[in-house]
Amino acid sequence: MSIKIENLSYIYDQGMPFETIAVDNISFDIENGEFVGIIGHTGSGKSTLIQTINGLYKPSKGKIFINDIDLTDKKVKKSDIRKKVGLVFQYPEYQLFEETVYKDIAFGPKNLNLKADEIDIRVKESMKLVGLDFEKLNEVSPFELSGGQKRRVAIAGVLAMNPEVLILDEPTAGLDPKARDEILKQIEILNKKKKVTVLLVSHSMEEVANLVDRLIVLDKGKKVLDGDVRSVFKEYELLTDIGLGVPQVTELINKLNLRGCNIKETVLNVEEAKNAILKQLRGDSND
């Protein structure tokens, strides 16, 4: 599924004293199967942007095409779009409401009017995808689970709708490192194996650096950078100006370069940094 966004703007309380421009004239295309990170500060318009893609907000200006269907067209049924574009909100565990984990995950598929056996398959599948033990947990109340498990149940609830595009708004906020890595791993698997287009919203560079193929950087509602991870991290000064910074290893190399090293490549993780530094130490003859 492809997403095409043209000159999109969203203004809160238009014409009111509290008027704020949350999304300011943003355009981009996302191809089928891409893994895109949307990154920006709190209040940069990330959350508003993704909610317009899901049809929850009507854009003030501009157009959104999902598989060439114009979302801003009044004739297009928003519920059809929501079947294809799954949106996992920030702190999604607050949306849990059913008596059992099973019922909660089945809520989405039920709204799609699927048959009971199809729902059953989907619940099992999506629980497996997020790493929850079906036998152990399907009859448990979601409110008895730990924070990380609740989060998984909520994500499974969206996955059970079999979306072709999955949008996650800071899926790891407030989780411990282990739960965070596991959830990110599962999102990656979903993208690589099931070819789901994924949009991952985050404010942490470290988190997205090794995960996504492409980064879109937002600042004050505007798109400032868009490209593959390495090319975005080359804009070190701009990112620091915005207050986002780059991952620590990338920064380390930048500092080394300031002190006279000459490492040309942009590194994203410790392994790459190690190789680059070793290469440097062995002498510049290789360059």
């Binding site: 607050y94 809520f107 709204n111």
Partner: protein, 266 residues
């Protein structure tokens, strides 16, 4: 839609109305409320309209913003109007099968609707121009005389502030959960009444849970800072009547007197 509700919100601005003493504003609101239900003539409502428009202008709050607050209660206003129009006995001016419209009904329905509109505008003007903190202070001071008969004035005032404070938070939360469930295919807008009521469960359960959670957290946070209400608590900003309140009282007296003078009441 949920963002439209302005009741209980504070609109920060610098105006004479904002500067008035909260005690005076609360009493004035009461008098105003009584006045709109006592007025019985069209000219009387003209005076009320002039008065409230004058106050809105003084408060520097955009009229559009205040009128926006009426949107969510439009249904109640229309309902009150319709009930009065169709079920008031009197001179029939229009009849169709069992439906009867009387002139008295039209008259009463119209007044009822107008009263509700003025009531909402007036009371929201109080909360829009008074910060929750000042409002509580005002309520507490006004309730102080009743302490002698065992009324927990401070606690009551505290409860009121907290509930006022949490109206916008709860609305925001409702909005968020609603959107989250809509993203999972929930439908809040169509279907039969039974289905719609059932459709509210995915909204209400998480909302209640988070509200209780919030209340619990807040209680804990207050206790952690050794909060103890009532006696011997001193205040950072002590309420004082000023010249502005004196002028305000004159305006209020003028308003009430003009209603009486021109026999617009009863």
């Amino acid at each position: 839609m949920i963002r439209d509700i302005t009741v209980g919100q504070y609109y920060p601005s610098e105006s004479t109305i904002h500067d008035l003493d909260p005690r005076f504003k609360i009493i004035a609101s009461f008098i105003y409320m009584i006045s709109i239900f006592a007025v019985e003539s069209i000219i009387g409502y003209g005076v009320v309209t002039l008065f409230i428009v004058f106050l809105i202008k003084m408060s520097k709050i955009p009229i559009k913003y205040i009128l926006k607050g009426l949107k969510p209660i439009m249904l109640i206003i229309i309902f009150a109007f319709v009930i009065n129009v169709f079920f008031t006995p009197g001179k029939v001016i229009f009849e169709y099968r069992i439906i009867k419209v009387t002139s008295e009904g039209l008259y009463r329905g119209f007044f009822m609707a107008i009263r509700l509109v003025f009531l909402i505008i007036g009371t929201s003007l109080l909360t829009l121009t008074t910060s929750p903190l000042k409002l509580t202070d005002g309520i507490e001071k006004l309730l102080n005389p009743f302490k002698k008969i065992g009324l927990p004035a401070h606690e009551l005032a505290m409860m009121m502030t907290i509930s006022l404070r949490f109206i916008p938070t709860l609305l925001e939360e409702t909005d968020k959960i609603m959107k989250a469930q809509m993203a999972r295919g929930a439908d809040f807008e169509s279907g039969s009444i039974v289905n719609r009521a059932k459709g509210l469960i995915p909204l209400l359960v998480p909302l209640f849970i988070s509200a209780f959670q919030r209340a619990d957290d807040l209680a804990m946070a207050m206790e952690a800072r050794c909060y103890r209400g009532g006696d011997n608590r001193t205040q950072l900003k002590v309420l004082k009547y000023t010249r502005k309140d004196l002028i305000g009282s004159f305006v209020l007296i003028l308003y009430v007197a003009s209603l009486f003078a021109f026999k617009m009441v009863w």
